[in-house]
């Protein structure tokens, strides 16, 4: 097992009387994609800024590839996409990217390829002030691809992107992870994150309330499975009585049961024979899981 690229050890950050990050311990190994979820103001951006060394911790420790956050060594290994990315409007996309390339110690020649990769080739020589929000976001992504980052921090990378661009974005993220980078994605887009990340961490009021794979989190939460049965005309009353569920919109009955009782419930439903017209089984989604973990009593 390789050494973790990012280690947080009881990281704590206070702002005034509020504790914005509270004893967060977390590590991230090469090639892993971690989704960082949490309500507005949960501390996601603050955590990312602490990893970048832009804000100082009040207690605890962070190491990035063995170095202190914000040190020259750490910064050379990290790529960052801020949540509201901003550039100099008077520069062209190419000039701005070339500037960052020079700072990162990379040949500005590669900028053309990168701009192409994020779909900005046609707008490369226009001033950034004329870019749309999504185009600026893509330029932000292009700069995060510069250098050979071992840790990539993306703060709400899909905000402002159209569906096709989002898909492209996750393909690019997959590519970075496949090349060995550890990727941390702060996001509110649950469905995307569900399909495209390896692990999920959830922050609530600065506390880390979950940090595991989706499967393990689902198991631990033991959320019920939802069954929706559509009864044949006139049979809804009888079906609801037999199964003990609640009736919804006339002809349907909804039933919740723990995952391990799913088969027994199905058996009872099929036992009702022709009274049942159709059946829909919905396993708990990330949204239910997110709700569960972000509301769970401490």
């Amino acid at each position: 097992m390789s050494d973790p690229v990012l280690v947080l050890d009881n990281a704590t950050k206070r702002r005034g009387s509020a504790t914005v990050l509270s004893e967060i311990s977390l590590d991230l190994t090469a090639g892993t994609r971690l989704a960082l979820l949490g309500h507005n103001g949960a501390g996601k951006s603050t955590l990312i800024k602490a990893v970048l060394g832009l804000t100082r911790l009040d207690a605890g420790r962070i190491t990035v590839c063995g170095a202190a956050p914000g040190s020259a060594a750490a910064r050379a290994d990290v790529a960052y996409l801020p949540e509201a990315v901003a550039f100099h409007g008077a520069l062209t996309g190419r000039e701005q990217l070339a500037f960052f390339a020079r700072l990162a110690g990379e040949a500005p020649k590669r900028c053309g390829t990168l701009l192409d990769q994020v779909g900005l080739a046609a707008a490369a020589d226009r001033r950034i002030a004329t870019y749309s929000k999504g185009m600026r976001q893509r330029l932000g992504l292009a700069q995060a691809l510069l250098g050979r980052p071992r840790l990539v921090l993306l703060d709400e990378p899909t905000s402002g992107l159209d569906p096709v661009s989002r898909f492209d974005l996750y393909r690019i993220i997959d590519g970075m992870a496949a090349a060995g980078a550890a990727v941390l994605i702060a996001s509110h887009a649950l469905t995307e994150v569900e399909a495209r990340t390896d692990r999920i961490a959830i922050l609530r009021d600065g506390r880390l309330v979950a940090d595991d794979t989706l499967a393990a989190l689902t198991r631990a939460a033991a959320l019920p499975i939802r069954l929706r049965i559509r009864a044949r005309a006139g049979a809804a009353e009888r079906v609801a009585e037999a199964l003990g569920g609640t009736r919804v919109n006339g002809a349907s009955v909804e039933l919740c049961c723990p995952a391990d009782e799913k088969m027994a419930a199905l058996a009872r439903i099929t036992g009702l024979g022709v009274a049942v017209e159709d059946l829909e089984v919905t396993p708990p989604g990330l949204e239910d899981l997110y709700r569960y973990y972000s509301k769970e009593a401490v």
Partner: protein, 275 residues
Amino acid sequence: MSARRILAVARAEAILVRRNRWLVMATLIMVLFALALSLAGSAPTGELGADMLTVSVASMTTLSVYLVPLLALLIGFDAIAGERERGSLGLLLSYPVGRGEILLGKALAHTGALAVACTIGFGVSGVLAFAISDVSEAALIALMRLVATSVLLGTVFLGLGYLLSAGAAGPGAAAGLAAGVWLVFVVLYDLGLLAVVVIDGDGAFSRHVFPWVMTANPADAFRLWNIAASDTVAIASGMGGAADALPRWAAPASLISWPVIAFLAARAAFRRIEP
């Protein structure tokens, strides 16, 4: 410190200075004022024993004291506060570039821009003098000294501008403070000194302390340097007295150490910023 990164910052900043019209406006202002002063001073001045260019240099020295600090502060106050306000500072600082390197890169580009404006502005006056009268070697040297010291004076106020930019809450506050700094260094400082001298008469302060206090101000050091270095300019400006009371190194020492002090202070303020 890496020259590559400093140059990268300077390069981007140089594009911005050109695109935001600062360079064009600054050059235009310098040219207009230099031309006006040269033409106004082209009336016969034989009784003072100074040629036309020397007279121009003397009046342009006075002009430079007002204009160059203003232009430098105008470009300096936004250097960090602007990035912070725009929200681009966090991303910039996530790159492996030091805060000192960022400041030096910006200073390099801004100093270059000031040098262009001063060279063209004062140069036009030199060309004009050359076209309509004789130009002595001494006057030419005085002109070149004026350009060089003006740029140096500019770097002082660039540094002070960066300091305000890093220390103020935002670009608005930085702009207000910049106006205050200009007023203090260029106007109020001299008025204050004048008041003290008037009260003191020919006392110990006026004879021994006053010249030193005066040189401590970079704007006055600039003036004294240009005056002390050229007898003819001193005669033309009628300000030889204070310059004579000081050793020759005093004004240059002040004007050269100010940019260093201002820059170090700006870097210290910048280091305390959380984007």
